[in-house]
């Protein structure tokens, strides 16, 4: 099959797939196409759309490719969609941020960071398939651990979790010249979120 033919099949796949479709999957489906070629063809296709001034472009999200309308057409599409457009409250975004950067994370840890109760927000994020239960921590009470979903990557246009911008370091938030006061005393209320705490794999089982 010639290159143009392969490119058209690839285009059809990216257009009609039910979820972002990976280069590996494309190579599997398109006759005689290697994974690297698939990536090259996607890039080529993207350039074609740009040159032709199409209303859509190719995005790489959640480990795959997807066709998406350009942002300038959002106002029209919002009129078209019967469902309410995606709205995320500040509470939802803050909770998502903690989950995304600290996963796997317990509810208590989320609450310790935000200083407010997180139960309802977590529930709604789970319902919206942005957050999922990712196991539990092997400590008394076996609290559930939360993590983000592939859907989270799709909604936020991330290829993978590593594409999240790095969290600002505490030092950058301080005014120049300020000294940190050293580690804080043990938290009084909730458990201090610790990246070093045992996670799911921990064999420590307390009875």
């Amino acid at each position: 099959m010639d290159r143009e033919g392969q490119k058209r099949i690839l285009e059809a796949l990216v257009l009609g797939a039910p979820a972002p479709v990976s280069a590996e999957k494309i190579a599997e489906v398109v006759p005689g196409l290697e994974v690297e070629d698939a990536r090259r063809l996607v890039a080529e296709l993207g350039r074609e759309y740009d040159e032709q001034g199409r209303a859509f472009e190719i995005w790489e999200v959640a480990g795959g490719y997807q066709l998406r309308t350009r942002p300038e057409f959002a106002p029209y599409l919002r009129l078209l969609h019967r469902e309410r457009p995606l709205r995320l409250s500040r509470a939802a975004l803050e909770t998502l941020a903690v989950v995304a950067y600290r996963q796997p994370v317990t509810r208590a840890e989320i609450e310790a960071v935000r200083g407010v109760e997180a139960d309802a927000v977590i529930k709604s994020l789970v319902e919206r398939q942005l957050v999922r239960i990712a196991g539990h921590r092997e400590v008394p009470g076996r609290p559930m651990l939360y993590g983000t979903t592939p859907r989270f990557l799709e909604v936020f246009g991330l290829g993978r979790l590593e594409d999240l911008p790095t969290l600002r370091e505490i030092e950058e938030l301080l005014p120049p010249g300020a000294e940190t006061t050293g580690p804080p005393p043990p938290a009084s209320a909730a458990a201090e979120p610790g990246e070093l705490e045992p996670d799911v794999e921990s064999p420590a089982e307390l009875h």
Binding site: L15, G16, A17, P18, A19, F56, Q66, L67, R68, T69, R70, P71, F73, A74, R78, H81, P85, L86, R87, L88, R90, L93, E94, L96, A97, Y101, A112, V113, R114, G115, V116, V126, Q129, I133, G135, H136, R142, E154, V155, F156, G157, P165, L167, R168, I170, L173, L174, P175, A178, E179, T180, T181, G182, P184, P185, A187, S188, A189, P203, E205
Partner: protein, 278 residues
């Protein structure tokens, strides 16, 4: 429906505008930490050197105002007020001796650490919100998930007998029957439910017997096999997954039994149910 005399609506019309204006302003805060950050920014003070007395007073005024406006003041706000009062009292204590050493940790240190930590995530959240979001700013071209299981593969197409038979084959193959097993770790059905759902998130559908071959390298003890089987049954009960089997031309079940994640609204309800199992 008019009321005689001074109508309550008139009274309300007088009182409400200012009150609701405050209410709107107050609800802008995501909690005590957010309110504190706001006050610190307003006061234009260094976050590592908060004038506690001043900030605590303003904070208390806000919380009192919320009370006055009959807003539901969450306990977290009151807890923070108490924390501020405590820090304030500690700051008032005279230093034990002259000199900077040996003064002990700054009573504000923990609060500052929490504020900075919260600020990091607050900023990260703002960044997330500013991204180009699918469903808000851009819209994906994708066909809705095609229902791959044809009608004759509907859930009940697999009988419990067929499922039990399949599981007996799994048990037989494991050869664990009757052998002494040392319980090295407690096995929880809940964990197995999560493991099965995880596997089904990775594979579109999974042959029933293959579920017991996941996690290569893990010794599949009889207990683990049974717990996993129970987990599958429980997930079916919660409508989190579907078990189905093909039918032959005569409508008799045939071929391997397969598992697939349930789709549609409510498909994630199992997560909440799992959370309740202890």
């Amino acid at each position: 429906m008019s009321e005689p005399g001074i109508s309550t609506s008139e009274l309300r019309a007088e009182g409400v505008p200012s009150a609701s204006a405050c209410a709107i302003k107050l609800q802008v805060f995501e909690g005590p930490l957010d309110l504190l950050l706001h006050l610190i920014r307003l006061a234009e003070v260094d976050i590592t050197d908060i004038p506690i007395a001043e900030i605590a007073e303003q904070y208390t005024e806000y919380v009192a105002l919320m009370h006055e406006l009959d807003l539901d003041v969450a306990g977290e706000y009151l807890l923070m007020a108490a924390t501020l009062a405590w820090i304030k009292s500690r700051m008032l204590l005279p230093p034990s001796a002259e000199g900077d050493e040996d003064e002990g940790p700054d009573p504000r240190a923990e609060l500052v650490a929490r504020l900075l930590e919260y600020q990091r995530f607050k900023e990260a959240a703002e960044q997330l919100g500013e991204r180009t979001l699918e469903g808000r700013d851009v819209f994906a071209a994708q066909s809705p998930e095609v229902e791959r299981a044809p009608d004759e593969e509907r859930p009940l197409a697999v009988s419990l007998v067929a499922l039990l038979d399949a599981f007996r084959r799994v048990l037989a193959r494991s050869g664990g029957t009757g052998r002494h097993e040392v319980a090295t770790e407690p096995i929880h059905v809940r964990d197995r439910m999560l493991a099965v759902m995880d596997a089904l998130a990775r594979f579109e559908s999974l042959e029933f017997e293959r579920v017991f071959e996941l996690e290569p390298g893990r010794p599949w003890s009889r207990t683990l096999l049974i717990a996993t089987f129970l987990a599958i049954l429980e997930l079916v009960r919660l409508a989190a997954l579907r078990v189905y089997q093909g039918l032959d031309a005569a409508g008799v079940p045939e071929g391997p039994i397969r598992l697939r994640r349930a789709e549609g609204p409510g498909a994630d309800a199992w997560a909440a149910a799992v959370a309740e199992i202890t």
